[in-house]
């Protein structure tokens, strides 16, 4: 999995490319957490536009970041999730606690 980061004032945007499964999840988690900690950022946008496959490992990654940031009064949202990936998220009921937007711009406005 390939990750691309962008800072927008106090928000960290991470654009993920590839397949998010148990194998890639650990690396994704470590790289994002490292960046959040290093720059003391508590607002995160995870962009899924180029995540072409995801299993339930992805739910763990998003909820894990949600827990981490909530404990610091931060926030997280996800953007541009394709339908096949959204179906996996929907099973978990995750959208009750994490907002989803169809563009990074809208997500920035909301945070």
């Amino acid at each position: 999995m390939y990750l691309e980061f962008e800072n927008n004032s106090d928000i960290l945007i991470v654009r993920m490319k590839g397949e998010l499964d148990h194998h890639s999840a650990e690396e994704v988690r470590n790289i994002i957490d490292d960046r959040l900690d290093r720059e003391s950022i508590i607002k995160l946008i995870m962009d899924f536009s180029e995540v072409i496959f995801m299993d339930s490992s992805g739910i763990g990654v998003v909820i894990g970041r949600y827990k981490k940031l909530s404990s610091k009064n931060g926030s997280i949202c996800i953007t541009n999730v394709r339908d096949t990936v959204k179906r996996v998220f929907e099973l978990s009921g995750m959208f009750k606690i994490i907002n989803i937007y169809d563009s990074v711009e809208k997500a920035i406005e909301s945070l």
């Binding site: 499964d21 299993d55 339930s56 996996v88 099973l91």
Partner: protein
């Protein structure tokens, strides 16, 4: 009897999760599945193999995961087997959001995904012998 079948066996390395789902999806492609059906298969296989690696073999990389797949008419059967530590309480393990390893940041949705994306799911397990997951899916005719 089945019309076609395949078997693969691979080490319990997480790199093989993507290999397993691609292999089964490629085998299933002879049924001319829709993109949605093939995504369902890929996701369900990914969950079953991940369970074998994380829970069955507790992330040891020297275990073997075996997949058999059969085609009969429009139905695909996939059996994912390991010789790992087995599941203590299958009913509990299959509950949505339950995970035996909260320390690993797992969502506890693996079996729920398999149940939702496939037409049937059967789990057999014996302590210290292993786990066998049998999933079936009927592909709609075009």
């Amino acid at each position: 009897m089945f019309e076609n079948m395949m078997k693969i066996e691979f080490l319990s390395k997480s790199q093989n999760e993507s290999f397993a789902r691609v292999a089964v999806a490629a085998f299933a492609s002879q049924l001319d599945p829709t993109i949605e059906e093939i995504t369902d298969i890929r996701t369900a296989i990914s969950e079953a193999v991940t369970n074998s690696i994380i829970h069955g073999y507790e992330n040891r990389e020297d275990g073997l995961v075996k997949i058999q797949s059969y085609i009969y008419n429009r139905e695909l059967t996939v059996i994912v087997e390991d010789n790992g530590k087995g599941i203590d309480n299958i009913e509990l393990a299959m509950q949505p959001l339950y995970t035996s390893r909260p320390d690993l940041e797992r969502s506890g949705m693996g079996f729920t995904v398999m149940e939702t994306f496939m037409d049937s799911l059967q789990v057999e397990s014996e302590e210290n012998k292993g786990t066998k997951v049998t999933m079936k899916k009927v592909f709609k005719s075009l």
